[in-house]
Structure formats: C-alpha cells, structure tokens
C-alpha cells in the first residue's frame, strides 16, 4: 500500500511536470505576447517590461526560471493586473470548488438513489421515467441546459435571480453542472445494481433471512458502488472543465473564467498557474478515487 502510494505520487509529479512543460512551450509558440497590443507601447518600454519578466531570455531558460520560482511556492504575478497569481487562483478557485463540490455531491446523491430505484423497480413506470430523463440529460450538452435553465427559471418564471456579485444564488449553476454527471451516475448505478442483484451472493443473503433493505444496502450497494467510484475521478475532471462553460453562461468569476481571460490576454503566469493548479487537482482526484476503490473492494491489492 505504502509502496504503491509513493509510486503513484511520483508518477503524479511527473505528469504535472510534463503538462507544465507542454503548456509553457505551446503558450510561447502562439503568436503575440502580453505586451503586444494594437496600440503598441514604445519599443523601449516594451523592452524594459520584457526584461523585467524575463521574456527576453530563451524560452527554455524562462521555463526553468519559472519552475524554480514555482518550487519556492511563487506563482508570479499577473502581467495584466499585477496581482499575485496565487491569490487570484485561491479566490476564484474557492468559488469553482464550491460549485463543483456541491455538483459532485448532488449528482452522486441523486444518481445513486435514482439508479437504485430504477434497478429495483425495473420495467415499472419509475424506471421508465428515470431512464427517459437521464437519456435526455446525457445527450444534451451542459451549456445548452444551463442556458435553458436560465431562460426558464430566471427569465420566464422569474423564480431565481440571475447570478450577480450582490446576489449570489448558486442554485442554477450547480444544477446545470450536476445534471450530466447525475444522469450518468444514475445509469451506471442502475446497470451495476442490476448486475449485482442477479449475483448468487444476493440470493445467499436473502436465504439467510436478511431484510430486503439490508440486502440492498449492505450486500448489493457496496458491490454496485465499485464501478461508480471509478467514475468519481473523471467526474470531478468533467465538472471542473464543465464549469468553465457554466461559469461563463452564468457570468460567475470562477477559476474557469480566469483561465479563459488569461489565454485571451496572453497572461503567461496566469495561464501557467491555472493549468498547473488544475492538472494537480485532476491528478490528486484520480489518485484519491483509486485509493477509495481499495477501501470498497478488498480484492484490489496494490502490490
């Protein structure tokens, strides 16, 4: 277990390093730069600025300078606003994390319940309705759902106010983020549950005189959960990228929108900072779901 964890962590660090490397060179390969504007500043000014931020050095050297700073915990400052990147990331991520976290919890909670219900009531009307709705939610992309929700609940019905800094209502953004994974988890849980309910050990449990709901919760759910847990890592990845779109639709200033404006402005430290941060997050999530997997399925041994 320890050996496995160490191996995975080293692998994770390498992964993040490679992502940083690729991003850095790709970013520098895009034409234009942070100070190349329509109204070009004077050549002398630009030269001073570039020297100040090491932009005059070869790209390779820049990369190692950046990495060196990073290891000291210094993400640099934004070339646009001059603020510390780490502060910006921290602030905007706390919004994204809240949105994403709530969406993950909501989709897991609703998905597991709906999926189990569909499995237990198979071929009856609750199953049919659940499967119809989830097919819909899986098929329609989140930005369309988000726009539709906004249109219906804010504009037509007027139940929920449009998000603004003054009135921070996260309900619609969370629902838009959660719908797809919720639908996916529902379907995953249903098929996995049906598979498990047909297993011999479920019959054994019933033959022992275990109560029906205990058969479901103790004997079936834990086995049915195994494929769902493998999905939690990718799910978080989905929600974090999905939130770029949803944050834009709802005009919420999360990490996603910082990332996008960073690219538009060629704000190199901002692009690098958000990329490395998101990559690390992904890698940690995947690692966590693998370790969680072990907790549920005794057959998985890591050596």
């Amino acid at each position: 277990m320890l050996k496995y964890s160490v191996k995975r962590i080293i692998l994770a660090i390498v992964t993040v390093f490679i992502i940083a490397l690729i991003t850095f060179f790709a970013m520098n390969a895009i034409p234009g730069g942070p100070f190349a504007k329509e109204k070009a500043p004077e050549a002398a000014v630009q030269a001073v600025l570039e020297k100040r931020f090491n932009l005059d050095k070869p790209v390779g050297e820049q990369f190692f300078l950046y990495l060196g700073n990073l290891l000291r915990g210094d993400f640099g400052i934004s070339l646009k606003t001059g603020r510390e990147i780490s502060t910006t990331i921290f602030e905007s991520f706390s919004i994204s994390a809240f949105l994403g976290g709530m969406a993950v919890i909501l989709s897991l909670f609703v998905g597991l319940i709906l999926g189990s219900t569909a499995a237990l009531m198979r071929n009856k009307w609750p199953d049919r309705i659940i499967i119809f709705l989830t097919t819909l939610f899986v098929a329609v992309p989140s930005f369309i759902l988000a726009t539709l929700l906004l249109l219906i609940f804010s504009y037509v019905l007027g139940w929920v106010k449009v998000w603004s800094v003054a009135d921070q209502n996260y309900l619609l953004p969370i629902i838009s983020l959660a719908l797809y994974p919720m639908a996916y988890i529902t379907r995953l849980t249903k098929s996995s549950m049906l598979d498990v309910l047909g297993q011999d050990y479920i019959r054994t449990a019933r033959a022992k005189g275990v109560k029906d709901w205990m058969v479901i919760f103790k004997h079936a759910l834990r086995n049915a959960l195994i494929p769902v847990i493998t999905y939690v890592g990718p799910l978080t990845a989905y929600i974090m990228t999905g939130s770029l779109v949803v944050e834009t639709v709802f005009t919420i200033g999360g990490l996603g929108s910082k990332f996008v404006t960073g690219i538009n402005n060629r704000d190199y430290p901002m692009i690098m900072g958000t990329t490395i941060f998101l990559a690390t997050l992904m890698v940690v999530m995947t690692l966590a779901s693998d370790l969680l997997y072990k907790a549920v399925d005794p057959k998985i041994s890591f050596d």
Binding site: R122, G198, Q199, D200, Y201, R203, T204, A205, R206, A207, K208, G209, V210, K211, D212, H219, R222, N223, V296, D297, P298, K299
Partner: protein, 336 residues
Amino acid sequence: MANPLLQVKNLHTVFPIQSGEVRAVNGINFNLDRGKVLGIVGESGSGKSVTAYSILRILDYPGNISQGEILYENEDIVRMSPGEMRQIRGARISIIFQDPMTSLNPVYTVQNQLVEAILLHTKRDRKQAKERALEMLQLVGVNEPQKRLKQYPYQLSGGMRQRVMIAMALACEPDILIADEPTTALDVTIQAQILELMQELKSKLGMAIIMITHDLGVIAEMCDEIIVMYAGRICERGTAEEIFYNPRHEYTKGLLRSIPNFALSKERLTPIAGSPVDLLNMPRGCAFAARCDAAMKVCLTEQPEEISINENHKASCWVNVRDTAAEGTEGRQANG
C-alpha cells in the same frame, strides 16, 4: 402419527416472461420427515433449483408460486408474510448453492457473513456470535479457522468456501438443509470430502436434508428417498434401492444408463437422446413422451397418474399403468 416436517402439495411455480409463461414446476408433491434425507435428481432444467427456491421463496424475478401449498410444521409457507418468511430462512430452513465461488459476498469477510446469520436468528450478542462463528468453522473442518474468519472469500479455495457456506447454513441449527448441487462445481476429491462432511454433520446435528443433484450416483447411498424430476414434474420416487434396481420410468432408466460404471448397464455410457421439453409449451400428455422409446398413443394425449409399484416405490408412467392392469405381467425391462 405426526405430520411430516415439510409437505409440498401440488406446487406450481412459473416465470411469466414476454413470450409466455415458463412453467418450471408443474404440480409436485412430496413430504420430508424430521432427520431424513430426500434426494432430488433430474437433468439440467428439470426444475430442481426452482423447487428448492420455492420452498424458501427466494425465486429470481419474475418467478412466483402460482398454486399449491408448502407446509412447514403445518404452516403454509406460501401464505406467510415477508416477516414470518424471514424467521424461516436461515433459521428453520437453510440452503447451500451450487457455486461456492460466487455464493459468498466478495466485499465482506467470512466472519462478517457468518456473524450476520447468527445475529439474525439467535439471541447471542456480537461477541458470542463471533465465538459461534469460530466454532462452526471448526465443525465444518476449515483449517486455521481463526485466520479464515478474517479473510475475504477470494482468499479461500472452492472447497473451503463451500465449507463456509455449510457453516453459515447450519449456524442456527435449522431443521432442514437444502443442498442444491453442493458439489457440482468442485473437483472430484473435494466432492467426496464435502459429501462426507454433510453426512457427518447430519448424524451430529440431526437435520433433515434435501439433496439436489443431476448425478444419481453421487447421492444414492445417503438418501432415504429419491425423487426423479422431469419438466417440473415428479416421474418416479422411491428408496434408492428401488430407483436403482427396479426403475419403472423410461426417464429414470435413461438417467441410470448415463451413470458411468453402473451395474445395471453393461453397455456404454449413453446420454438420453433428444432435448428437454419446451416449458413455454408443455405437451398435453407425458412430458417425456417425445423422447421415450416405449411411448404409446395414450402417452401423447394424457398425463399419467402416479401409481404405486410397491409401498416404497411410485411411478408416473402409462407403461406401468398398463402393466399393473394386466395382472401378473412383470415390470418391463429396459429396452436397449
């Protein structure tokens, strides 16, 4: 005389599916007395497991009992509430299954699963239940029982898992143990060990056993009575002696012929020709008629009644009805 411990009366079990109704069990009757061993034999698909699952009402979806009674100590299991049914399952009547590899829950330890059964049906607390679990593992001859308790099913061999299943089934001292082909999935030496263990436990604990198999040879010596099933009906029943040396139904004779080294047949091993009957469209007459070498006209149109050959032997076969009617005619010998 007291009533038998278990009486199955005119049991019908069906599986309604899209294309019709699969009639898995079609009106069977049998009794089981305390401490006796009843063998049920028949080809694959003859309804042995469905009969067993009906008794515990653990049929797979969409199976259900459409008709009949199952009296356990004179109470009808078919009409029991789910709560009453749970008092029976695992406590009064237990079952072990064909495939020990898949019958234990993979995500819980042996101890967890044993203790669960014990806590459900006895007044023991958790600590006493653990002691009982250990005691049961020792009883069924699991080596290093202390260590096994902490292990997960995947860490045990097939034979070991079946022993654990037996321990779990017997932990609450049931009156009846149903063993649904308990050795089919195991290799030959382990098979013998498990059967030996069951016999030993029976003499120690005194429960009645319903022993299901498709291999007559395996169970003959331990059974007080044997029931031969075909297409969800009982075609012949009697003591092992009668079934083996005086078979009356052509299907039984076919089964015997398919046993290797069986004394009755000097010929080569012959499986029964033809394929099992379509349970969605049961024939009007004897279900075996289409495959039977001795079939007569009446066999195709009417179901044979069960007639007594002697006090230890009954068969449902028109050939025997005719022979019994024509007084003095000896039972037909196997033709082939």
